[in-house]
């Protein structure tokens, strides 16, 4: 235990940072993140490969338990080291984040890669003033002095749309509303002008009007800083409003990846299509919503071979699935896992009744 925190003096300050010329910011290669349950590791993220480009919002969509948050915490190493096993490559800036030590990660976290959390109240320290919390990252990662830091804090608060930055900087988290707190979280995340921002359900806890404001803010900030944003959400409406590219996850795997226009106009995988059909649409008049049979299998019971979605579409014959489902590029930039999408049709298409009431029997 060190009594004095080791302070890193950086040669590259905020303004004169080395610019990464390539378009590709982050490359994830065959990532496996497993959690230990009774001495066996079960992979919650199972062979995910992704790239995040500069100036792009990549959305990761899926139901709860599909591994999207685990993917985020693996990238910046916010997992419990004793109970988690991370294999594979996460290449950022020439380094493999998956094998980096805690000290190495500390240099990157909050500086080059930062995170926006879902619940702003539990992500803020209740005993620290807002100004100090935003300053924390600045004093750790940059060589700005106290005066400059305070100036930067006010600048940031203004940037995230807080009208009275001087007062808010002196306040405590409980004195702010939910939307204001989320703005503060965003201010902390963008304090050091990171190249990558991971936003884990940034608007789930907020009202629709505030949600719209926060999303607009994220888009504006991204256009300004040209950062790459990984947006994790289960709300397809949010994805449609802000994302450039979308990856749909199911049971630890990416099952479909495409540009946002392509995915919303031409979804292919049965899971994606079922998801779209289960949204109560604003302008659709149909009375019944589609229901996906069964439930997402728990981590221990997850089948590790074959198409993982097959158990939830039992009316599709087994031959339609691949033995070892792989991602196929069906049109430029549009990837779909397994071949079952070619045969897939909704149960009601064939005239059979939906038996969702007994789905979990």
């Amino acid at each position: 235990m060190q009594f004095v925190r080791f302070k890193l003096i950086k040669f590259n300050t905020i303004t004169g940072r080395r610019v990464n010329l390539s378009k590709e910011l982050l490359k994830i290669n065959n990532l496996h993140t497993g959690f230990r349950i009774k001495d066996t590791f079960y992979d919650a993220v199972d062979g995910v490969s992704l790239t995040v480009n500069k100036n792009e919002i990549l959305a990761i969509v899926g139901e709860s338990g599909c591994g999207k948050s685990t993917l985020a915490t693996s990238i910046i190493g916010l997992y419990d080291q004793n109970k988690t096993r991370v294999q594979g490559e996460i290449i950022f800036d020439g380094k493999n984040l998956a094998s980096l030590s805690e000290e190495g990660l500390n240099e990157i976290r909050g500086f080059q890669i930062s995170m926006i959390f879902q619940d702003p109240l539990s992500a803020l320290n209740p005993l620290m003033r807002i100004g100090e919390q935003i300053e924390e990252g600045l004093s750790y990662h940059t060589s700005l002095n106290k005066m400059e830091r305070e100036k930067r804090v006010l600048e940031l608060l203004k940037q995230v749309g807080i009208h009275n930055p001087e007062r808010v900087a002196r306040q405590f988290p409980h004195q702010l509303s939910g939307g204001m707190r989320q703005r503060v979280i965003i201010a902390i995340a963008i304090a050091c002008k990171p190249q990558i921002i991971i936003a884990d359900e940034p608007t789930t806890a907020l009202d629709v009007t505030i949600q719209a404001q926060i999303l607009d803010l994220l888009i504006d900030l991204q256009a300004e800083t040209e950062a790459g944003i990984i947006l994790i959400t289960h709300d397809l409406g949010v994805v449609a409003e802000v994302a450039d590219r979308v990856a749909v996850m199911y049971a630890g795997q990416i099952i479909e990846e495409a540009s946002v226009e392509e995915l919303f106009t031409n979804p292919k995988h049965p899971y994606t299509r079922s998801l779209f059909n289960s949204i109560p649409q604003m302008n659709a008049q149909s009375d019944r919503l589609n229901v996906i049979e069964g439930i997402v299998p728990s981590l221990m019971n997850l089948p590790r071979s074959g198409c993982r979605f097959s158990s939830r579409i039992p009316w599709i014959p087994g031959e339609a699935h691949e033995e070892n489902p792989a991602l196929h590029e069906i049109s430029p930039g549009h990837f779909v896992r397994c071949t079952c999408w070619k045969e897939f049709q909704f149960k009601t298409d064939k005239g059979g009744g939906t038996h969702e009431l007994y789905a979990n029997k």
């Binding site: 139901e63 629709v208 404001q213 409003e241 919503l289 589609n290 969702e356 009431l357 789905a359």
Partner: protein, 315 residues
């Protein structure tokens, strides 16, 4: 013909303070709302968090003390009344809670949880009770062996369905559903919503559907009321609200809902910003100096909107 009317319902919380801990202020959680419930219809209550929509639901069922106003149920005044256990109001109005997990007693088996309203309100023999429970479980699509399990053994959607089974056990006329699906995943949400519609058609239930998700409310409800700071801003049929919103608050709320299509999102963003600016500019015309919404003025038979200050002066 409506079977239940609420007139000028108010729920105020006292704020205590000062030397003698006297009442120094009041929080006007619900401040004068009027509603009617008809058989077989679903009513939506929409608003931001903290606008008093949950308080309204709780006040209706008797979990919150009503400050003033009245609830008339089938010609009988049931406001704050000390109702007997066998009162028909208690039996006919039931509630589904937002957090299914914390609304189920963890130490009771499913059998006993669902049997509770049956034992309170219906006098059935143990055998009949057993049969009734099996029937209810079948209605909500749960297997027979769920009876002997405990709440923690079920998933979120299943727990919510147990909550529904309990609510419909006494064949109620009105179910107050306070954000019944906001904690659920999309496909589970679809399952619960479909199911709620089914039992509505089957038993002629009425719903008071409290939610902040306008998509869900539109899917479920015939009649929608928009709430702001304890008062109705606009109330009308689904078509009135969605195709012909009159109040700036409603317009702002509708413009903020993300649409499930990336096409035209730039236009929507511009529109959103325009509506927001309009809202800021026109704000003082639509609210009085205490941010209170003006009284409702009818626009058509079904549609009523809070007045603006100019209209107010004319009246």
């Amino acid at each position: 013909m409506s079977f239940m009317q609420i007139n000028d319902l108010k729920v105020h919380y006292p704020v205590r303070g000062g030397f003698f801990n006297t009442v120094i202020d009041r929080v006007l959680a619900v401040d004068g709302i009027t509603m009617e419930f008809e058989r077989g219809k679903a009513y939506g209550l929409v608003g931001e968090s903290g606008c008093g929509k949950s308080t309204t639901g709780k006040a209706l069922i008797g979990l919150e003390k009503i400050t003033s106003g009245s609830i008339i149920y089938e010609g009988e005044n049931v406001t704050n009344a000390r109702r007997s256990r066998k009162s028909s109001f208690n039996r006919d109005v039931q509630m589904i809670f937002q957090d299914a997990h914390s609304s189920l007693n963890p130490r009771k088996r499913v059998k006993d949880i669902i049997a509770e309203p049956i034992r309170n309100f219906l006098s059935l023999s143990p055998k009949e009770e057993e049969r009734k429970i099996s029937e209810l479980l079948e209605i909500v699509g749960m297997p027979e062996d769920a009876k002997l399990k405990y709440p923690h053994e079920f998933s979120g959607g299943q727990k919510q369905r147990l909550g529904i089974a309990r609510a419909i056990a006494t064949n109620p006329k009105l179910i107050i559903a306070d954000e019944p699906v906001s904690a659920l995943d999309l496909s589970v949400q679809a399952q619960v919503l479909n199911f709620m519609k089914d039992i509505q058609n089957e038993f002629g239930l009425s719903y008071l559907f409290i939610s902040h998700d306008l998509g869900v409310v539109k899917h479920m409800c015939d009649h929608i009321s928009i709430m702001y700071k304890g008062r109705f801003v606009e109330t009308g049929t689904k078509e009135d609200i969605y195709t012909n919103p009159q109040h700036i608050y409603t317009k702002r709320l509708l413009s903020a809902i993300p649409e499930v299509s990336p096409l035209g999102r730039e236009d929507r963003k511009r529109e959103r910003i325009r509506v927001e600016q309009h809202y800021q500019a026109e704000h003082k015309n639509y609210y009085d100096e205490n941010e209170r919404v003006f009284d409702l003025v009818p626009v058509s038979n079904t549609h009523a909107v809070a007045a603006t200050s100019s209209v107010k002066e004319v009246i």
